[in-house]
């Protein structure tokens, strides 16, 4: 009787292991390919969009936290003398300021705007993170967030580029997007300006821009893939 029980339990354990393994294999192991090559797991556009949007949401969250911290410690009063003139270095980038304006834009343009924004913020954030790391006024928590933020921008840009590629592949948008992704072309003359920005203004601007990115991505997604979630 104990032998029977042991064998049965062994079979059960084996089955359970097989189930788990198969699930694992299904989820992560296969590389993501956008070209529909054989042997790899193809992510749908909707999945890509969802990932990107989640990423941007997280990025925005971190930027909001950092901005709140800055405001608490360095600008307790809003009526600070010598009020800072918040001029963001990305103000040169034309972005739609309303729903209608955003909906009026074509998908490619919208995608371009998103990419422009993301590209524009890569360097400033990197420098910001560097300055925070060397500054002893900030705690580790803030410096970690800054680092994470700068990484996220970089990754988000890659993700959006992938989405654009996917869309181009699917014929949703034209191929004109790629040409605009080079950073030099976007902001050739702004290099000097962002160095002047103070950290606070930087955070303020980035918070806003990350919100824009997130919103634009959502609009893009709902326009391209209308689902019940939209």
């Amino acid at each position: 009787m104990p032998e029977n029980f042991r064998s049965v339990s062994a079979v059960w354990v084996g089955l359970v292991c097989l189930l788990f393994y198969s699930r694992l294999v299904r989820v992560g192991a296969a590389p993501i390919c956008t070209n529909g090559q054989a042997g790899c797991h193809i992510l749908s556009l909707a999945d890509l969009f969802d990932r990107v949007i989640q990423h941007s949401a997280r990025m925005h969250g971190i930027s909001s936290d950092l901005h709140s911290e800055f405001e608490q410690y360095f600008f307790p009063s809003k009526n600070h003398i010598g009020r800072v003139n918040r001029i963001c270095h990305t103000s040169t980038i034309l972005t739609p300021n309303g729903k209608e304006n955003a909906q009026r834009l074509a998908r490619e343009e919208l995608t371009e705007v998103i990419l422009k924004l993301l590209v524009a913020w890569r360097d400033p954030l990197w420098h910001f993170q560097q300055s925070i790391a060397h500054h002893h006024d900030f705690n580790n928590f803030s410096s970690n967030k800054a680092l994470e933020m700068s990484d996220m921008v970089h990754e988000l840009r890659k993700g959006v580029e992938k989405v654009a590629e996917k869309m181009q592949m699917l014929g949703i948008i034209s191929n004109s997007v790629n040409s605009l992704t080079s950073p030099e072309a976007l902001i050739p003359s702004d290099r000097a300006e962002w160095r002047l920005m103070k950290d606070y203004v930087l955070l303020y601007c980035f918070r806003r821009d990350s919100n824009k990115v997130q919103n634009y991505l959502k609009i893009l997604k709902c326009r391209i893939i209308p689902q019940h979630e939209c």
Partner: protein, 650 residues
Amino acid sequence: MRRAVGVVYLNLHSFLFFHVLSLCLGYSPPGKPKLTSCRSPEKETFTCWWEPGSDGGLPTTYALYYRKENSDAVYECPDYHTAGENSCFFNKNDTSIWVNYNITVVATNALGSNFSDPVDVDVVYIVQPHTPENVTVTVMEDKDGPFLRVSWEPPRKADTRSGWITLIYELRVKLEGEEEWEEHRAGQQKMFNIFSLRSGGMYLVQVRCKPDHGFWSEWSSTTYIKVPDYFPRETSVWILIAVFSAFIFFILTWILNLKSNSVKHCLLPPVPGPKIKGFDKQLLKNGRSEEVFSALVVPGFPPTTSSDCEDLLVEYLEVYTPEEQELILEEGKDLQEGCLKSKGSPSDSDSGRGSCDSHTLLMEKCGEGEGKEEKHQERAQKGKRQQKHQTGWEEGDVSHTREDVLSPDMSEGRVKTWPSVFSPLPQYSSRPLDHQGSLETARQLCLSDSLFPPPSTSSHLSYNAKEGLALGSGQQEFYLGKKQTHPSNPQSQPRWHLQAHSDFNISSMDRKQAASGLQLPGFRSTEYVEVQRVNQEDMVILQPLFSSSCQRDGHLQIGQGEDYSKVKGVDSGNMLLLQREVEVKREEEDGDRYSCDIQDRVTESCYTTSTAASSQVTGKPTSCAGTAMPVQEEMVLAANGYVDAATMLL
């Protein structure tokens, strides 16, 4: 020139006058207004509300001015009325998202104006949607029971379809009458299920929403829903389990009750108590030893009935001669019970004897017998008893004396008897003290007799059934040790006493002593006695043998002569038939009798008979010569000199 100056001077004057007048009257410029909040319901328009300060008593007007980010152009509120009093509504055209508005409210009255503090507003962060609409709750059925399905729609103005706004929802439920709500986050879905409902309960449901970065909306209006009655499956399972457990519990209790005794024995084994017959724990606790010991005297012990006698030791009589000389009458016969006669020689061995027949024990008895005899003597001194003792061996009284003599011993239980093969065992009375002639009885009497002097004198042996038979024969004395068992059941039936009178010697000795059966001094050798007759009180009257002697186991051979020590048999009339022999010969009859080995055996047919059971004295003088006992009592002797009490019994 002069005119212009004059006009100016006049204006100034009137102005000053007006102001002074106002001040004198208590008017003042308006207080500072304050912007309370700005909200956008759908991220396309927004509204700002302000709070007016004191108006200073004069009608005050408010104006809202705003500046857009990075622009110096000041614009006034386009709409003061849509949103109500003290509000400014910005429509879609005037609203720019992701643009910082710098808003200021100005209160103006006749005396002056007052600016509020500027407020920076970015529409993205001030979104507060309207409540979700069309909240519907339905009851749906599931295998586990009913559940609530709540569904709603986003507020009409919020554009979630284009992805412009992303709303997350939250709902709350409570039972009617409760105070606390149960809140659930629903995320972006527009439907939610609520489980674990109370059957028959009335539920209240509310929903609200919030943009991903914004403020929560107000709770929607309450929706009421009633859950129908149902029986929850969980409860039924628990009820089943409870009933089952109770059932098993009751069964176990019942079984335990039935087997309570065995369980008690298992868990608490009974402490063994004393198993002595007649032992009374209560008496012992009371601490009175006499009562305890008296209680131990169980009438049924030692058993003496014939049915038990085979299991018990043989009853036999040992007759010992006291102290320096011991004359022991032996039996030539071997009894079944193995009653062995004690030796004549001092060297004694315990082999082949019953437990009670040790030499020392008998000596003890002798000693006791002495004491007893004294006692008896004392007793005998009372009234006719004394006379009986002294006269000894008179008929009719012997029994009394016997009784007296015997009974105390009986009560002390020193005499032990074993049931004899011979048969009907004598019955003992439970209380030997209170009856006449209802005594003991030795089945067998082993007499060791001492040589008797000339036959002219017949010696009467006063036999003390309990302890011993004392014979007076010159200087010989012997004891008849009789061991008797307690009567198992008192019967009035054949009981008999053995009494031997020693006549001849009495004269030479203290008669008293002899009568009471005390030991007589100066035993020289073993003597044999013969039963002369049995008197009416069932006393066996012995007389010494003159010539016969039997030797056995080293005993002396007395000699040859007539002897009546053989019991020939018991006839139907309960008469013991003695056999007179010249010489004693060993023979075995029915395994009951002993006889000594004698070369020449002369068997005579003369015998004496005695009736043991008859109450009448039927003394018969022996037809044989030699012994003529004047006494009426008869003695019966076994062939080998032993008198078998059993044979007397009929």
